[in-house]
């Protein structure tokens, strides 16, 4: 470092920032160059914020039904009316009519019934983080005339509220699952890469073996042995664990590859010469050397978990109602009627696709930025 400070007088300010910057701030600045990734990161952050404050943001709980309003299309929100002119947002009441010829329900606005949307209004009680009890919702409307931003499902539940509530499980399953498989992957991959030789061979073959097992029968076998009387929360954690047990293999491979390369570096040899213990070398010296790469791997494996959760639900092995996740919502939309007559049931799919894309873009941005000195 000393040599740099000596020559500081000859380099300009910009370069100086560059040379003095820590690895992380370099990554940050390179990441910002990837515009798509930067924007994606902001959106992802918003999604997670929505998930955390979902109870406040949405007008209804995930199970509240309006049985007179099943399969209602998204409610139109008006701000203008020929008599009163512009006003704060309002909706009209709706009349349900069965078309006997086509056997489908039609909703017609009841222009006589005009209801204003209220903001920061009282609704069903909820508790935030299990601590703060509140009944204030961002917006709401009187009980009789519901407002469905994304329409309603077969039982007359608000798809918007369910989608946002569902994001809690779907978005966290990726994080929790990945951190678990990350732990296993790092541990086995690290040990394998550091020791090499016989242990490496053994662990490598074990990884081959895990990767070679077809995932779907594994899911099925594991979920079949989950005790029947577990609560949905317990089942949720069990499913997360199952997902991560099955998916740690590739991460372990990456870790091993990197460690293999790094353990021959001079600073590792130096640490060993100084008498540092092996775990200490791995954690203190090797891990930081490629932590940026690991973050990329992790970012790119989260969307896999989110998709796996939807696949589990499709196969009937996932989260069970009344708990709601994007997987269970997609199960409702896996229906020809949804595609042809109730397209709003597909909106949760847009959230899934969007989230997976966002994670991928962020991952790509991180990947490009990960090697700041290149």
């Amino acid at each position: 470092m000393g040599s740099f400070s000596n020559s500081s007088s000859v380099i300009n300010e910009e370069d100086k920032n560059f040379y003095y910057a820590t690895q992380w701030s370099l990554i940050r600045s390179r990441f910002r160059q990837h515009r798509l990734a930067s924007i994606s990161l902001i959106f992802l952050g918003l999604l997670y914020l929505f998930a955390i404050f979902s109870d406040f943001l949405v007008p209804y709980s995930s199970t509240q039904r309006f049985s007179k309003y099943n399969f209602s299309a998204p409610t139109s929100i008006y701000i203008y009316d020929s008599e009163a002119g512009f006003s704060s947002p309002f909706v009209y009441g709706q009349k349900k009519i069965l078309d006997k010829k086509t056997f489908s329900w039609k909703y017609e606005p009841d222009l006589t019934k005009k209801v204003y949307i209220q903001f920061f209004t009282e609704g069903e009680e909820y508790s935030l983080f299990g601590i703060f009890k509140s009944n204030i919702h961002l917006f709401g409307i009187d009980e009789e005339t519901p407002v469905f931003l994304f329409g309603s499902d077969r039982l007359g539940r608000d798809v918007f509220s369910r989608t946002i509530h569902g994001s809690q499980i779907s978005l966290s399953i990726g994080l929790v699952g990945v951190s678990l498989s990350f732990l296993i992957g790092i541990l086995l991959g690290g040990v394998s890469g550091y020791y090499g030789g016989y242990i490496d061979d053994l662990i490598q073959r074990f990884i081959d073996f895990m990767i070679s097992l077809p995932t779907i029968p594994l899911w099925m076998a594991f979920s079949a042995v989950l005790p029947r009387d577990w609560s949905s929360l317990k089942t949720y954690f069990a499913i997360t664990i199952i997902l991560s047990i099955i998916s740690w293999g590739p991460l372990a491979r990456v870790t091993r590859g990197k460690i293999l390369a790094l353990r021959e570096e001079d600073y590792t040899l130096a640490a060993r010469a100084a008498g540092a213990s092996t775990p200490r070398i791995i954690v203190k010296h090797l891990l930081p050397g490629f932590s940026s790469h690991l973050i990329v791997s992790i970012t790119l494996s989260i969307p896999g978990m989110i998709l796996a959760e939807t696949a589990l639900s499709f196969l009937g092995l996932g989260i069970q109602p009344p708990a709601v996740s994007w997987g269970t919502l997609l199960q409702d939309s896996q229906d020809l009627m949804a595609i042809t007559n109730q397209p709003w049931l597909l909106i949760p799919a847009i959230f899934v696709i969007g989230t997976v894309l966002l994670f991928n873009f962020v991952g790509d941005g991180l990947r490009d930025a990960a090697d700041p000195y290149s």
């Binding site: 160059q33 990837h34 515009r35 798509l36 030789g197 061979d201 073959r205 081959d208 073996f209 990767i211 070679s212 097992l213 077809p214 995932t215 779907i216 029968p217 594994l218 099925m220 076998a221 079949a224 042995v225 969307p303 998709l307 939807t310 696949a311 499709f314 196969l315 997609l330 939309s333 896996q334 020809l336 595609i339 042809t340 597909l346 799919a349 899934v352 696709i353 969007g354 997976v356 894309l357 991928n360 873009f361 790509d364 990947r367 490009d368 290149s374």
Partner: protein, 332 residues
């Protein structure tokens, strides 16, 4: 190189043994057996199975021997007779079922692989050269859409669109009129009409990943001194690109084909279920559900075997393609 190959081949034996145990355990783990499933699914379709009849079915399929003995009987038959047992649901030998479905699965998967390469490699090259350009974003976005959409939903939507715009259902392999017809040119065309959607959908799932790898590898390659030197020497960029960096970037993709198999089979299951294709994927799913134990265990076993062999080939290819790894191995 030879000793390395032989060593790896020997390591296969214990792995295969472990796979066979796990494959069998997966099927034995859930409570109940095929008889329970059979009775239950008869009831599920509205048939009332009387208690007597249920008892008779249980006796017909129930195996009273202990698990270990049944496992050994299965393994023994495989090792000494190449016989994977009998499927209760399909009422025929497992060997015949696998012989029928495996080629179809492999064909479908390879078709899909070709589609995804045909899309991913040009896109990967383009986005690497024009990093952060509008089209880079656009193509990557399209490529990733396939990766991001739940395959079962995409399959249903596309099946509906095909029906809407082309007036035929893409379900199954043939239209009803050709199902039992002898082979003809028309039947072949009909088969192609039915295969196009599943091949594309399965292919799209892998496209995103390959685009990313291709783009990343090529970006790394383009920064290497030899490229800069060649450019400086006035070599035409297009010639240079295709001759060295692209080749270097593709190598790792080719050498990891073996690892793709499990991912492709997993993707294939969901799409085949929706599109009604009877490949190995849905048969596997079905047999695990119905606890058709010999069939399920055998398919798990064979898929795992194929993957292990695939990844062995990948490893050998890597060693062969990349001298650095080769020397490292040999020096040990």
């Amino acid at each position: 190189m030879l000793t390395y190959t032989i060593k790896r081949l020997f390591q296969l034996i214990p792995i295969l043994f472990v796979i066979s145990v796990v494959a069998y355990a997966i099927i034995e783990l859930p409570p109940g057996d095929f008889a329970d499933f059979y009775i239950s699914s008869l009831r599920a379709t509205g048939v009332t199975v009387l208690e007597d009849e249920a008892l008779r079915i249980k006796e017909q399929y129930g195996f009273n021997a202990p698990v270990v003995e049944r496992y050994w009987r299965w393994l023994e038959n495989i090792i000494f007779h190449g016989n994977f047992g009998y499927s209760f649901e399909y009422q025929k030998p497992v060997n015949e079922i696998i012989a029928e479905k495996l080629p179809l699965s492999i064909g479908l998967t390879f078709g899909a692989l070709i589609i995804s390469w045909a899309l991913a490699i040009p896109i990967g090259i383009y986005s690497a050269i024009h990093q952060y350009s509008k089209f880079d974003y656009f193509f990557t976005f399209i490529g990733f859409l396939g990766l991001a959409t739940p395959p079962f939903l995409m399959a249903l939507i596309f099946a509906w669109l095909f029906l809407k715009f082309f007036d035929y259902s893409v379900l199954g392999l043939y239209s009803p009129e050709y199902v039992t017809a002898p082979w003809s040119f028309d039947k072949f065309i009909d088969l192609c009409k039915h295969l196009i959607l599943p091949v594309i959908l399965i292919g799209l799932q892998g496209t995103g990943t390959i685009i990313r790898v291709m783009r990343g590898n090529l970006l790394d390659e383009l920064k290497k001194p030899y490229v800069i030197t060649a450019k400086a020497k006035g070599l035409k960029f297009r010639d240079l690109l295709l001759k060295y960096p692209v080749r270097m970037a593709i190598n790792p993709i080719i050498s990891t084909i073996g690892w793709l198999l499990p991912a492709l089979i997993a993707g294939e299951i969901l799409i085949s279920i929706v599109l009604g294709i009877q490949t190995l994927g849905p048969v596997l799913l079905r047999s695990v559900l119905s606890q058709d134990m010999w069939l399920a265990a055998s398919i798990v076993m064979i898929l795992s075997l194929l993957t292990i062999i695939g990844s062995l080939i990948s490893d050998l290819l890597l060693v062969w393609l990349d001298p650095r790894i080769r020397f490292e191995r040999l020096s040990k």
